[in-house]
Symmetry: C2
Subunit: 339 residues, 2 copies
C-alpha cells in the first residue's frame, strides 16, 4: 500500500536558488561558468548547494545540452580474458575525460550484438564497437546516427583501429619452421568471425611462403572446451605443431594432450594467439602471438573522444598496430614421428 520506499526527493536547482536568494539561472552559472558570476554570490550558491546535497538532474541537462556524457562499449564476451585489458584501458581513458561508460556483452551472438548496439546508441554520445560479427549494413545504420569507432575490425563505414597480425604470424611460422616442423594444423575459430578469417588467411600465406604444410581444422568454439576436439583432430591429422585460433583453445589443447599422455612440447608443439594474461601462467607457459590490445583500446578511446571533441574526423581515420610473437615453452624441435 505504501508503494516504493520513498527515496528523499532530490533537491532541484530552484531549491538551491531559493535558499541562496538568487535566481535559478545564477545557480546554473555559478556551477558551470564560474567566471560569469560575482565571487561572493557564487560562494553563497555553492554553500546552499552543498547544504541541500544538490545533484544536477542528468536527464534535464542532457535534454537541453543534447548530449549525455555517456559512452558505450560493446564486446563479444566479458568472460574472454582477451577483452579485459581492453575494457579496463577504455574505461580508464573514458573516465579521465569525465564520461561514464556503458558496457554490454553480446555472448558472441550477432542478434544480441545489433540489439545491444541499437539500444545503447539511444543513450550515449558515442560508442566503441568490438563486434566481429555484425553485418556491414547493420553497422552502417547505427553509425549514421551515432559516432562510432570500430575496434579490432576493418571498416569503411566508421573510423577503425585494427591490429596487423602479419608480423606476428610470420614470426610464428618462421619459428616452427626453424624448429623443423613441416606439417602443422590451424584450429579455426567461429566461421563468421572476421578475426578468424584474417588469422586463417595470414597463416595460410605465411606457411605457403615458408614451405610449411598447413592443415586447417574446425571450426571450434573459441573457448577452452573447443580445444579438446581440436587436439584430437590435430593428432589424428598427424601434425607436429598446432596453431590455435586463440590462447583459450590452445589451453584446452594442452589440457587434452596432457590427458592423452602426449607431452608438450616434446611430442607436440602448441602456439596460441592473443597472449592473454593466463598464457604466461600456464605450465608450461604458452608460446603465443601477442596482440597489442591495450594499445588498441587506448587508440580507440582517443579516436572516439576526438570525434566527439568536434575536431572533425580524427586524422588517421584508421589505425593499425602490429602483433608479434612471444616465445615461451610450448614449442620445441620437431622429432621424427614414431619416436
Amino acid at each position: 500500500m505504501e508503494g516504493a520506499r520513498e527515496v528523499a526527493r532530490a533537491a532541484t536547482i530552484h531549491a538551491v536558488a531559493a535558499l541562496a536568494g538568487v535566481s535559478p539561472s545564477t545557480v546554473s552559472r555559478a556551477l558551470n561558468s564560474p567566471g560569469l558570476v560575482n565571487a561572493v554570490t557564487r560562494q553563497r550558491v555553492l554553500e546552499s548547494a552543498e547544504q541541500l546535497g544538490y545533484q544536477p538532474n542528468r536527464a534535464a541537462r542532457s535534454l537541453v545540452l543534447g548530449r549525455t556524457s555517456n559512452l558505450g562499449l560493446i564486446v563479444p564476451d566479458i568472460a574472454n580474458p582477451f577483452f579485459t585489458p581492453f575494457i579496463k584501458a577504455v574505461q580508464a581513458q573514458v573516465r579521465q575525460a569525465s564520461y561514464s561508460l556503458f558496457l554490454a556483452d553480446t555472448d558472441e551472438d550477432v542478434e544480441v550484438e545489433v540489439e545491444a548496439a541499437r539500444a545503447m546508441a539511444k543513450q550515449v554520445d558515442g560508442m566503441i564497437l568490438c563486434a566481429p560479427r555484425m553485418p556491414g549494413n547493420r553497422l552502417r545504420s547505427i553509425a549514421v546516427h551515432t559516432p562510432v569507432v570500430i575496434a579490432n575490425r576493418q571498416s569503411r563505414t566508421a573510423p577503425a583501429v585494427t591490429m596487423d597480425i602479419g608480423p606476428g604470424v610470420r614470426q610464428a611460422v618462421a619459428h616452427v619452421h626453424a624448429l623443423g616442423h613441416r606439417r602443422c594444423a590451424f584450429l579455426s575459430g567461429p566461421r563468421g568471425s572476421w578475426s578468424n578469417q584474417q588469422r586463417l588467411r595470414f597463416f595460410t600465406a605465411a606457411c605457403q611462403a615458408q614451405g610449411v604444410e598447413l592443415i586447417v581444422l574446425g571450426p571450434f568454439e573459441p573457448v577452452f572446451g573447443g580445444g579438446y576436439r581440436g587436439a584430437d583432430e590435430a593428432v589424428a591429422a598427424g601434425v607436429t605443431a598446432i596453431f590455435a585460433y586463440n590462447d583459450l583453445v590452445a589451453l584446452g589443447v594442452m589440457s587434452r594432450l596432457n590427458d592423452r599422455g602426449i607431452r608438450v612440447p616434446g611430442e607436440m608443439s602448441v602456439l596460441g594467439f592473443d597472449d592473454i594474461p593466463m598464457a604466461s601462467m600456464m605450465n608450461p607457459p604458452l608460446t603465443t602471438v601477442m596482440m597489442p590490445i591495450t594499445a588498441v583500446a587506448r587508440a580507440s578511446a582517443s579516436m572516439l573522444l576526438a570525434l566527439l571533441g568536434g575536431n572533425g574526423p580524427p586524422r588517421p581515420a584508421a589505425q593499425e598496430l602490429a602483433a608479434r610473437l612471444v616465445i615461451r615453452s610450448t614449442t620445441e624441435s620437431a622429432r621424427p614421428a614414431g619416436l
Copy 2:
C-alpha cells in the same frame, strides 16, 4: 572549421505527429498505451514513426517520467574471473526486464569505488554494489538517494545477498583432516576486505573445532602473482596443506610449487576458494570451495527489480546462499615430513 561531423538530427515526436496528421500526444499514446487510440490512427502513427526512424529521446522521457531505465553494477575487478559469471547473470536478468546496465570496475580501490558509485547513482534507477571495501557511512550516503542492493557482503543499510561460506569451509577442513593433515596454512587476501576477514574467521573456527593447526600468512595480493610469495612462506612454515584466499592465488601457489619441484598433491595439498571456471581446467584440477556466485547474481537482480517495482522492500531483506566444497585433484593424503 566544419565542427563535428553533423549526425542527422533525430526525428522528434512532433515530426511523426505532423507526418501522421495527428497531435504529439496521440503519437505518444499510440506508442505507449495502444489501448487508448483508435486502431487505424495507431497504424498510421506506427508507419510514420517507422518511416522517419523515430527513436524516443531518452533524456526527455526520463525527465518527465522521473526514471532512467538504467541500472548500475559495480564490481571490484572485471579481470577477476570470479566476477564474470556474476556480471553475465546480472546483465541477462536486467536486460530481460528491459533495463540497460552501467558497469563499472573499481580496480579494487576504495576511493574509486565510492567515486564510481556516486557518479553512477545520478543516472540509474538503482544499483547493485559489489564493494567489499566501501566504508559503511559512504555506503549509507548513497543508499539514501538510490535504491541499492549489496552483493557479497552483509549490510544493515541496504538489502543484501551474501554467501554462507560456513558449510564449504567446514567441508574443506574436514576433508584435509580426513586425509591426515594436521598443520595447514591460510594465505590471507587484502587486509581490509570483508571477504578475507570472513574466510579467515571461518577457517580459524573450523580448524579449531576439528583439531587442525592453522598458520595464517599474508596478506597477499589476491592475484596469481600473490601465490608465489604465499607458496614460499607456506613451505617455510612447514605445512602440508594450503588454504588459499582464492583460486587465483591457489593457481599461483601451484605454479610456484611446480617451479620449486614440489609435487602437488604428492608433497603439498592445495585448496582454492571460489571455483572460478579456470579451476577445473588446471592441471591437476583444483580442489576448491565453490561459491554460488551466479545464484547471488540472480538473487541480487531480482531483489533490485522488486525494490524498483514498488512492491516495497522485498520480503527477505537479506538472503544467504551456501558454499560447498568441490573435491578435485590437488588434495591427497599427508605424508610424514622428510619422506
